[in-house]
Symmetry: C2
């Protein structure tokens, strides 16, 4: 029996004590609004009243399509706490895919930024489950919303006007709180889902891990937090829940525009943020980046490798850049790459290598590199990375085949290849499906990409495997040169030859050819889309 001494782990408990009355910090929305924590907590209850008034019932799924707004943060709490499931819709997917995910989730309600209304207006191949659309803002809807769907305007005004009295229902901590879709490069998007309990434990565990780093990359109550990983993507790595629980100042940037993000970092004093490598690259490429004092600002890179070239560039600005690792399926955070005090004393060149590791396990996370038959591999030996922990998705919803594959042998399979070093830190060396098998040896496309990214004149790089009669596969390097850079391909090949001579790289890993290209295909979240690249640059059938 649960009692008040053994309370369920619910998202409504992930708020500062006493309705936030004693939190000195604000929540800032780039659109111009800023308010204190007491108002934030009142707004969550008002939000629930608005939804209830419009007919939303406990157990429903509610889809949210928005940029990173204060409303989105409020929805993180209001929707699960009233016993509904928050579907964070990936608005980088194609409109057809967006409709597929809403159909698949069976969402009866969608809360929609006017910019994304057109997403709902195409053909619903799988049927439209929506009963109501609630617009953010008072804008008129152009085009046609499917018949039978009631359109309500202006949720912001409704929230302003609603009562702040709302008693959260009693919920099972294992009730589903959130659902979102992985933007896989193959097949249809797949649904992962998390319970209240899992989100509470993830929040506590990342705070315990971030907080107890001796020096580097620590998150604390005086930090100013801004996500640059969208709120639709794996709960923005769970960091909004963590920042809210400790009552930190938070900044929500709306749509990501480099200049706006940089101005917010400067003007609001952002000290802790996170993004994928390509976004940081974009930020540092903006002229405004040079005007910012980056010293000590913490930037967590995840959702893919942190290239050494980018790490060096960021360190040169004084930024405290580091990496983490996890997946949409894993909560998401599983490792954080905090440098130890001894590691921080290493020279810059060593630190570049250290800061690009995936990192050490978050508390309560059990992570292994395993062989094909799921046996654990020793330190230093590459294998597939698998997980057990209290906050992994139980399955892909309504997809028994993919779920069984995900959970083969009762470990969650990452599809990533990597190993633990003698320092206890995980290194990811490749995607299982991107690894290049050449003459019986594995070649890590990510290692090659990291090394090539550091050659002068290289802007972007991708390495893919192409079929080879003699070796099975050979690596092909695709390079986007910086504007005006000459002989980039030759310099890359020379540099790789040098690195092979120096023993940094196995000789069989040096590609024979480098191809200069204008751009590289990426997925909706900015990762290299190697499937497309292999189709484009592999053999023509």
């Amino acid at each position: 029996m649960q009692t008040f001494g053994d309370m369920p782990l619910l998202i409504s408990s992930l708020l500062p004590a006493d309705n936030g009355n004693f939190v000195p910090n604000e929540i800032v929305d780039a659109a111009g609004l800023r308010y204190g924590y007491p108002e934030f907590i009142r707004r969550i209850r008002k939000f629930a009243n608005v939804l209830a008034t419009l007919g939303v019932e406990q157990g429903e799924t509610i889809a949210v399509l928005d940029w990173d707004s204060h409303l989105y943060l409020e929805s993180y709490y209001a929707i699960p706490s009233m016993g509904c499931v928050l579907q964070t819709v990936n608005i980088r997917l194609s409109p057809e895919q967006v409709r597929y995910t809403i159909s698949h989730a069976g969402a009866k309600t969608a809360i929609v930024h006017p910019e994304f209304v057109p997403f709902l207006q195409g053909e619903w191949k799988d049927g439209c489950p929506l009963e109501r659309v609630i617009l953010i803002g008072a804008n008129d809807v152009g085009g046609t919303i499917p018949e039978g769907v009631t359109v309500h305007s202006d949720i912001l005004t409704r929230i302003d006007d609603a009562s702040a009295d709302y008693v959260w229902p009693e919920l099972d901590e294992r009730a589903t709180a959130t659902r979102f879709y992985t933007s896989g490069t193959t097949g249809l998007p797949k649904a992962v889902f998390y319970s209240h309990r899992q989100i509470v434990l993830h929040t506590l565990a990342i705070l315990a891990t971030f907080g107890t780093s001796p020096v580097q990359g620590r998150l604390h109550k005086d930090d100013v937090y801004m996500p640059i990983t969208p709120l639709f993507h794996a709960h923005a790595w769970g960091t909004p829940y963590a920042a809210t629980l400790i009552g930190a100042k938070q900044v929500y940037p709306g749509r990501y525009v480099p200049e706006k993000l940089l101005r917010l970092i400067q003007d609001e004093g952002v000290t802790f943020s996170h993004c994928v490598a390509s976004i940081l690259q974009m930020l540092l490429d903006d002229p405004l980046a040079k005007e910012i004092d980056w010293k000590g600002r913490k930037m967590l890179i995840g959702g893919g490798p942190l290239p050494e070239g980018l790490a060096r560039r960021a360190l040169d600005t004084g930024m405290d850049i580091f990496s983490g690792y996890g997946m949409s399926e894993t909560g998401p955070v599983q490792t954080i790459n905090h440098l130890t005090t001894a590691e921080l004393q290493q020279p810059m060149e060593e630190q570049v290598a250290l800061r690009t590791r995936a990192g050490r396990p978050v508390v309560l996370c059990n992570i292994k590199a395993v062989s094909d038959d799921c046996a654990p591999l020793p330190v230093g030996v590459d294998g597939e990375i698998v997980f057990r922990s209290p906050w992994l998705t139980a399955a892909y919803a309504d997809d028994a085949v993919a779920s069984a594959e995900l959970w083969a042998g009762s470990w969650l399979h990452s599809g990533d290849i990597g190993h633990f070093g003698a320092d206890g830190a995980l290194r990811i060396t490749d995607r299982l499906k991107d690894v290049i098998k050449s003459g019986g040896e594995w070649i890590s496309s990510q290692q090659l990409e990291g090394l090539i990214s550091q050659v002068d004149g290289v802007s972007e790089v991708a390495v893919i495997g192409v079929p080879d009669e003699k070796w099975g596969e050979r690596p092909l390097a695709l390079i986007v040169p910086v504007a005006g850079a000459a002989n980039c391909d030759k310099r890359v090949l020379d540099r790789l030859a040098e690195l092979a001579d120096a023993g940094v790289l196995p000789r069989y890993a040096v590609p024979e050819t480098v191809k200069l290209v204008d751009g590289l295909a990426r997925t909706s979240v900015g990762k290299l889309n190697k499937k497309v690249l292999r189709t484009l640059y592999g053999p023509k059938e």
Copy 2:
């Protein structure tokens, strides 16, 4: 259904990843042993094998009677993880009370330091449930162990020799992991108990709270931790579990002897410790204390008020002293008094007042000051402090009456009087049963004690209420002067009059008389025993 993506919260999961292989720190026992985390984790499994070999079965209660040793820390993990209940026996209780608690717990096994064997050799009024006694060390047992109890020698050698292969059984996270007895000043000791889940959540929450303090009182992986609150007392405030999970260096001091504790602090570089106020007083009184550089060493005071005089004295040494609040019944930690960055900039005199607060709620803790009918009181108004959180004892075991009183109105009642300030921090002003009711007003004995403790020449102080015909009750101050201090009583009365003139103290709170005494009665854990003091110095019946 629980899966490997939603694993139960068990104490066996509160260990560093990968069997501690990558933890660079040691666990040190003052008796001379030191070992790394991999050895620690092996020893936990060996420990379980020893118990299983001696016939211990899942579900049994195992009593431990020891000083703060590495073995005790190992028992924190081995005993609950094999599905048994760890009873941490309060060896400061009288031998008769110790036997009562073992009887009441129904412990079949006791692991006993030779020094405490005599505790088991008196009369067992409530029957002796023990089937086996396992000695720490190879010493012979003098006297008689109750008939039918098998005595096994030398658990340490047995552990050394045991196999390290032991597979933890699958357990329900709500299974009881620990049990211990409150050393109440009235009646028989009462049993509180905690589940695996509660201990895991307490550990995560205190790490999240300690870790995210911006500057003051933070716990991190480079800290060197030593308990000076006994391991038998409320899991040493849960800090050994927290220190172990982050892989910090830990020092276990055995029996508390001031000189030994001070040498360990110096020689092992202890940076984070905790104790009750009277122990810190004793440490600072030792001549060796002056040789220690206290700067930045974090010292958490709990288990009773931190007197302002002691706070000032500790701050003068450079020590980072601060307080926390909780009870045996509450996990125990409920508030931690981290100073904010702004508060740290206050002058010393202000900081003394700030550092003696009880503090702000730990994450997930719901704490209120309430009126007699359990209604929440506004900021600044004294009332009884009550709790709800995920790690409160469900009841006093086998005591329905006391349990109902503890949980009246579905809040856990502290029996403490206090209020929240406008800074969100809790101040405890008195014990409900120690508060002095005079002429319809409440007088805080703790406020008076705090003020009197700061008068020159005062070594110890207690304020109690004594019956008064006109006012109902009046305060009486009992003072132990420092050796050679003259006119201590007059100086105290003069100072209190000044403070009343200055408005610091209500005029009705100034006692008419001060009594000089040789010493003050204390409980087994060093708290003032006001029940005894009222009997000694109140009216003779």
